[in-house]
Amino acid sequence: MNVFDIIGPVMIGPSSSHTAGAVRLGRVVNKLIDDRKLTKVEIVLSGSFAQTYKGHGTDKALLAGIMGYKSYSPEIRDALAIADEKGIEYSFTKENIKDAHPNTAVIKFYLEDGTVGTMQGASIGGGNILVNQINGMNVEFNGDNNTILVMHEDKPGVIANVTHMMHFEHEDLNISNFHLSRQEKGGDAIMTIEIDNQPPEELVDEIRKIEHVKNAILIRRV
């Protein structure tokens, strides 16, 4: 904790959890989309998000984040109109997601190139977030660090190959957190690797070349 955690953050109101945190959840999706063109988002709101989103501008905040705005961008207020202008279709529905944190959103996004993806995350207070699922697979990261998601086949040695390559090619990279989840033995698996440093752009391409790795995504701090 430092002085700017107390006097700060600079944010668009009214609520750090329902507005600022919601923008950051949207920004995770923005990082997943990268520079591809977004055509449609379907947003499901659960718990307190579902009950109070209108009064807190949670809908605008999520959409603004998805479009790449930050939690202090004045554009959040006009996010719905901006999305209309950009030709992005959007919808908000309320649903009670079982066992989810009270401030949970599930964002399904459709890209022009036919890609469809999902992200589930929660705003856990004070603008902090926790991402729980990406494309249906369990992950666990908070967006405070640079995070690499590696989708791969559950085969022996994949984790060792990825971390070995990271250290061999970029010896100052330091892993601060690691999480693995898989759907079934030998099936699809996903590694969540949080890193202290700024990972170089080429790192993701290097990981993609490793045997049994299907894809890798870098989500820089949101």
């Binding site: 430092n2 107390i6 700060g8 600079v10 009214p14 750090s16």
Partner: protein, 292 residues
């Protein structure tokens, strides 16, 4: 390095080195963030600038919250403050109240604010500091420096008690903001480090047990007006101390009591909108109006 676990630690260290708490904190934070003191000072100065903009933003005649439940409080108060004698408490105080209401209103209408320490209590510190700057001619550099003192007190409160309404009720939000502001005001008024701690203690004592009971779960009713009362408590605590009145219970003990009171507060009174004003007949009616 400072640990920010005790107000007394800050006071003793400042006394030993014969510096203001703000100077101590600026040096410590520069070291721990591995940045220059100038960089850190400028970042804080930027926050003060944003606070001044939030005051202006929230004072607009047509200011209205996103839910429509509140709006125009800052405008009305400022009109009142700038007419004649400036009301019963005089124009300095009523203008300061107008500023606190304006920033809180700016927050409710999705304007840009600096959380201090939270969004719900964001009007108290700017209400105090912008008033000293604009109406009493205090030096900007001293004011920005006093924000380091306020932040240091806030860190101790966060470590020792809480700054989240969901964890400790409104005493943790508006209470903490008023205590932080009181310490900053005393430093600006020329008080000693020990007097900063005493003002913090008095402000915390004055809001001990205050619950968080927002109507419809929104940061509006009663939050906006509690920013005005928090500001008054910050000024009265600072002025009492500068008049030579000391706090009978030391600040650290007040914070421990605040933590204990927060822990024993029922869930219904900690930002869940299930008790207090939120569950009054009118509170429920307003909730139904917004969320149907």
């Amino acid at each position: 390095m400072l640990k920010y676990e005790s107000i007394n630690e800050l006071v003793k260290e400042a006394e030993n080195r014969n510096v203001r708490i703000s100077q101590l904190v600026l040096e410590d934070q520069a070291k721990s963030m591995e940045k220059s003191q100038q960089d850190i000072y400028e970042k804080m100065a930027k926050s003060f600038q944003i606070m001044r903009e939030s005051v202006k933003d929230g004072q607009a005649k047509d200011q209205k919250s996103t839910s429509g439940l509140t709006g125009g409080e800052g405008y009305l108060m400022n009109e009142y403050a700038t007419t004649g004698e400036g009301g019963l408490s005089g124009s300095f105080m009523t203008k300061a109240i107008a500023r606190a209401l304006s920033v809180a209103g700016c927050n409710a209408s999705m304007g840009k604010i600096v959380a201090a320490p939270t969004a719900g209590s964001c009007g108290i510190l700017p209400g105090c500091l912008v008033s000293l700057f604009e109406d009493k001619g205090y030096d900007e550099k001293d004011i920005v420096m006093s924000m380091f003192t306020a932040a240091a007190f806030g860190m101790v409160i966060a470590n020792r008690a809480s700054i989240a309404g969901a964890a400790g009720g409104c005493q943790a939000e508006c209470g903490s903001a008023a205590a932080m502001a009181a310490a900053a005001l005393v430093e600006l008024g020329g008080g000693s480090p020990k007097q900063c701690a005493d003002a913090c203690a008095i402000a915390i004592s004055s809001q001990m047990g205050l619950v968080c009971d927002p109507v419809a779960g929104l940061v509006e009713i009663p939050c906006i007006k509690r920013n005005a009362s928090g500001l008054m408590i910050a000024f009265s605590s600072a002025d009492m101390v500068l008049a030579g009145i000391d706090a009978k219970i030391p600040a650290d003990e007040c914070l421990d009591a605040m933590a204990e009171v927060g822990d024993s507060m029922p869930r219904t009174l900690k930002e869940t909108a299930k008790g207090g004003l939120a569950m009054t007949p009118t509170g429920k009616k307003l909730r139904d109006k917004v969320f149907g």
